[in-house]
Symmetry: C2
Subunit: 366 residues, 2 copies
């Protein structure tokens, strides 16, 4: 009958060494450098460990000593419940998890979502035992950014914000990509265009309304850089075709609900009934908008052109005209950058390619 693995206090490397009358080094070596001691002695150590209920070197103590945590932290400011429902965000997380796994690093989801106070979130960031952080799609004025920087570990920003001191970044050229698809839409002959976008800023001045027309001031004053860039891309295309960019009807939707796209579409068509093309800054908006249009008997693309952004599987399956972006690869690259920081010490900026997908939801205006 083995001795009860229930010593008065938890077994440690030191207690094991004492028990076996060898040095702590030897125990440590038994686990970390098997070649540094005789196989025989190692067996004895492991056997004694089992008997005393010693689980092997304490990970935290080891981390303290080696200055390596064996994990990277992921900071997503949006609620996880939303992020996990957005296929693009999910692909990103999957890609990141994949490259972390490959490198033997864990991936820590830091408890810094919108459900907690900034203080609590900051505490979580400060107490995360990680070797680096990935910040996903934070707004320029995100309160956690400063806290993350304070930690003094490597940081990789994904998508936004730009210009964080010392942080590498993985992104796409949102403005150019959106300009390309907008040029395509304009080229089809559309002149009255509606643009449905996710939130542009962390604060929402429209109370309970799910969606609202974004006035020009809001377009330039806000902090979700990616959305703003995409809007600018559409304006670029319009200006390039001799249209007045200010004629673009921009509708912003605040919460990320399954019905957001439909709600925003309704607002856009109400604001400008002559719209013949609804462009969206995300596929999920476009898909929802299409459902809404169908319920109103508006035929796509005959009566209305609809475009998206992201290239998520469902959108491609439904033939949406959209911009495909490599979300999975974004995650992989982010993980890679964290594991292999640029030798120069100069932060890297990786701009990944996008591709215009001409689907079945776009055509000339009626």
């Amino acid at each position: 009958m083995p001795r009860s693995p229930n010593p008065r206090r938890r077994a440690t490397l030191a207690s094991l060494a004492a028990e076996l009358k060898v040095s702590r080094t030897t125990i440590s070596n038994a686990y970390n450098r098997p070649d540094q001691l005789s196989a025989d002695l190692r067996e004895r150590v492991l056997a004694a460990a089992k008997e005393m209920g010693y689980a092997g070197p304490d990970p935290v103590a080891r981390s303290l000593r080696t200055r390596k945590a064996g994990a990277f932290g992921l900071i997503i400011t949006e609620s996880l419940n939303y992020s996990f429902r957005d296929p693009a965000a999910l692909d990103f997380v999957a890609g990141l998890a994949e490259s972390c796994e490959e490198a033997g690093q864990g991936l820590l989801l830091v408890a810094a979502g919108p459900n907690r106070s900034v203080e609590e979130g900051a505490a979580a960031v400060l107490s995360a035992g990680v070797d680096g952080f990935v910040v996903y799609a934070a707004s320029d004025d995100d309160p956690y950014l400063a806290v993350v920087q304070q930690r003094g570990v490597p940081i990789v920003i994904v998508d936004q914000p730009k210009d964080i001191q010392g942080a590498s970044r993985v992104c796409i050229d949102d403005r150019a990509a959106m300009r390309e698809i907008a040029e395509y839409v304009v080229g089809l002959g559309h002149r009255e265009i509606g643009l449905l976008t996710m939130r542009l800023g962390r604060h929402w001045p429209h109370g309970d309304a799910q969606s609202a027309v974004a006035d020009p001031e809001r377009l330039t004053s806000q902090h979700f850089h990616v959305q703003c860039e995409r809007i600018l891309g559409v304006r670029d295309a319009m200006a390039g075709a001799g249209l007045n960019p200010d004629a673009l009807t921009v509708v912003e939707t605040y919460e990320h609900l399954p019905s957001s796209g439909g709600s925003a579409a309704a607002v856009a068509l109400q604001a400008n009934p002559r719209i013949t093309a609804l462009m969206c800054t995300a596929d999920v908006l476009a898909l929802s908008a299409m459902d809404h249009l169908r319920s109103r008997g508006i035929y796509v693309p005959g009566q209305m052109t609809v475009t998206g952004f992201d290239g998520v599987p469902e959108a491609l399956a439904r033939g949406l005209t959209t911009v495909a972006q490599p979300s999975l690869e974004k995650g992989r690259r982010a993980g890679y950058l964290l594991n292999n920081p640029p030798r120069s010490g100069i932060p890297a900026i990786e701009v990944l390619d996008t591709e215009l997908v001409r689907g079945r939801t776009s055509g000339p205006p009626a």
Copy 2:
């Protein structure tokens, strides 16, 4: 101009104390117990910290001292790339993340997927700085189970396996739930039934074939307990109705691909062309099977009844007859159990409710 925050070596609590000529305790208190020193002194400490580039107490050292890591580990043996594509698994992760966030705990995805060797995975488990583990849907013979147990931290098992020493568990009654839906199908008059199931064991004896009929021996010898229980549930229903359970055509599919259900359906219909009902142990299988049937011109439910399991949104949207299980709640409960271990010290077993959803994919046989 502030003094360069680039000291020869990283600032620590001790170096800050030396600089300010106060004790380490005082610095520690400045961060952890602001009420234990004068606001004035605290200001000075924080200012000096900023100047010296001190980011606050090192999380790892704090963990070592307090014996709290501030995170729970999640072990998913399936590839994350798959898990993140299965809505039920995803709901579970979302629920778990939610309850962790609520408790201010991080959630560490442990690098122990199928892409790494067991040794590497075991090392990851042993070096994860966590206060407890959640093990999601592991097979009975999963090699990481022993390693997780060795860690000596609280464990919550989700779904399977059963009977892990000292671990709490959150699950549903798979057998009863499947029996209920099978009784419904049998009650509709079906006698020739095919059952499509996910893999039953970690090893696959059929080479490159995506799906294959599972012989009786495999049904009883394998280790994915949940799938096996669901099969038993169907057999229970058949036996209860006076049918011979051995007449059930069970088709197992090994990889979790989007086309798996279709492939398995083809195998089932080939093995027994008289089948009038295809039951599936997962909605994703059923949806794929339906696509396959449509491509063959087989009408559902007129010519074939199809049922699923899980109640994922897409299945409900498509009117699939299925069993809805509370995946999100599973995650929440798992997190809750880890944060609030049963006072008695006796592991808890929580069996959550399921609900039969009679959809539009089931009807009497032709």
